[in-house]
Amino acid sequence: MSNRPPGEKKPVLQAPLATEAITQVKRLSDKQPTTFIGRMKNELQFIRGRGAFEISIVLAVLLIGYIVASVISPTGFAFLNPNNLSGVISQSIPVLAILGLAAGILMIAGEFDLSLGPAITFNAIVFIKFSESFGLAAGIIGGILSGVFIALVNGSIVVFTRIPSFIATLGMSFFWAGASIFVNGTTPAILTKSRDEVMVFLFAQDFGSFRSQLVWLLILGVLAWFFLHRHKLGNHIFAVGGNESAAEAISINSKKIKLIAFATFGGLVGFASILIAVRTSSMQPGGSATQDFTLFAIAAAVVGGTSLNGGRGSVIGIIVGAALIELIRNGLLLAKAPGFYITLFVGITIVIASIFNKVMEGKAR
């Protein structure tokens, strides 16, 4: 106590050491950095162990490799070809990244939704039918609300019955695949007269070096970042996914938070469904065309450092994870690798990323 200013409140758990008289114990509040650089260093130090930083380095190395290969052999490995660049960076990556953010937010809350692929089909059909019949605005609202609705149905089953979301949403994935055939028959839903300049400008315009989809990723990425990392609801999502009973003990309603996570998931999936529908102009009911998205979205989240057990993940990590997967896919295509190579390499990437996550989680513990 002798080295503290007089009149200061005595710490509750103060445990004076015999040596305290000689070793001035610095107070925590005095130790915090005040300069901008100091704060950044502090941030970095405590943000490490969440995976986003490491995965970004992997992405950077891969990109440099691709650029070098493409410069050496512009025709053999046409990565820098403007068509290729715009296709990958502005089309594939944004769609997978938005789906990855959706799956990632849900995973952070401790849940999964395996009906993502069939839900895309259903949402896209709703978007197409509404756009054709009632105009673009109705289509957009319909597509997004369809996503929210599907996710809330799935989420309610999971939250109120406490059936593991893996099982519940696996079952529901068949239901939604069937539902899309139920509403549209077995013939594809097609965008015709409603696919006008406005719709294309909003969701699929080629601006030369980038496309509309990339702009949407930036907007949604920033919104997701504020929601997940700065908003109190995001904080509750991490809390519920990390330790549900600790969150409930402090009067956080975990059911409500999980339903909010499901609804956010659904809204993002609904939006991605619109991007997919406008790009392809049609959607085949049944869900086989969109099946792959389910696992690729989860893969993007996992590669980006999202924990399979909930409570850990970041927006930047997930976007980088999606970019990494799409770049690997693109590289293999450019190198004219046979189709199965792509699945094989993506599989290996996911497993390596999970092992890496596990190691990081162990280190953070």
């Binding site: 925590l28 502090n42 969150a247 402090i250």
Partner: protein
Amino acid sequence: MSTPLLRVQGVTKKYGPNTVLNDVSFEIGKSEVVGLLGDNGAGKSTLVKIMSGVVDATAGEFFWDGTKIENINREKTEELGVETIFQDSALVPQMSITRNIFMGREITNKLGLMKIKEMDAITADVLDSVVTIEGIKSPKQLVSSLSGGQAQAVAIARAVHFKRSLLILDEPTSALAVRATEALLDYLRQLKGEGVSSVLVTHNLHHAYQVCDRHIVMNHGRKILDVRKEDTTVEELTAAVVGGAEGIRRYREGKK
């Protein structure tokens, strides 16, 4: 005596066929420190969870300052100013110290966005004024990187920061070093002066005897003893915790 702060009447809790709490009634006075004692499995933690509103009782009534609390839940007890350190499940390991301390009570702007700098500063302050536990480097540190004692100190700091009328501590010292434990017991004594009641759950009778005004001993889900400090001894408490109702009877007979 004036109206008790909290009166618990006839609490019973069943988990399937097991009756974990059997018709338990007691009172917590204003500015009183109550020791809740008993062997492992006696039902102390369950009782704490019910009093805090995170677990529903099978039967029982609760009165706060004389007024009945209908449908007790965590939102209501929070409003009343009850702050609990639960034995298990206190913190989220993947989150920072600041985010744990302000979990569910974040300081936000009108849009609900958190004021992180402000929360970090308060956390540093709270940790300074509540605990002098060495080795905590920053409020941004993840709880998973803390030792058991440090994590327990963070949980205590949170409860102390937010407590208003009743502080419930379920085995708060299990991971604390001796000196920190002594300091916590000191603090509980000091709380009385501030008009805050507290419940200390422990199976360390000497800790309880040092600070508590009254002792409640639980045994297999029943309350078997409820005595003021001046009417009992450490020996009697020991007999009750170890031997149950039978133990108390033998102890009292032995004394005659």
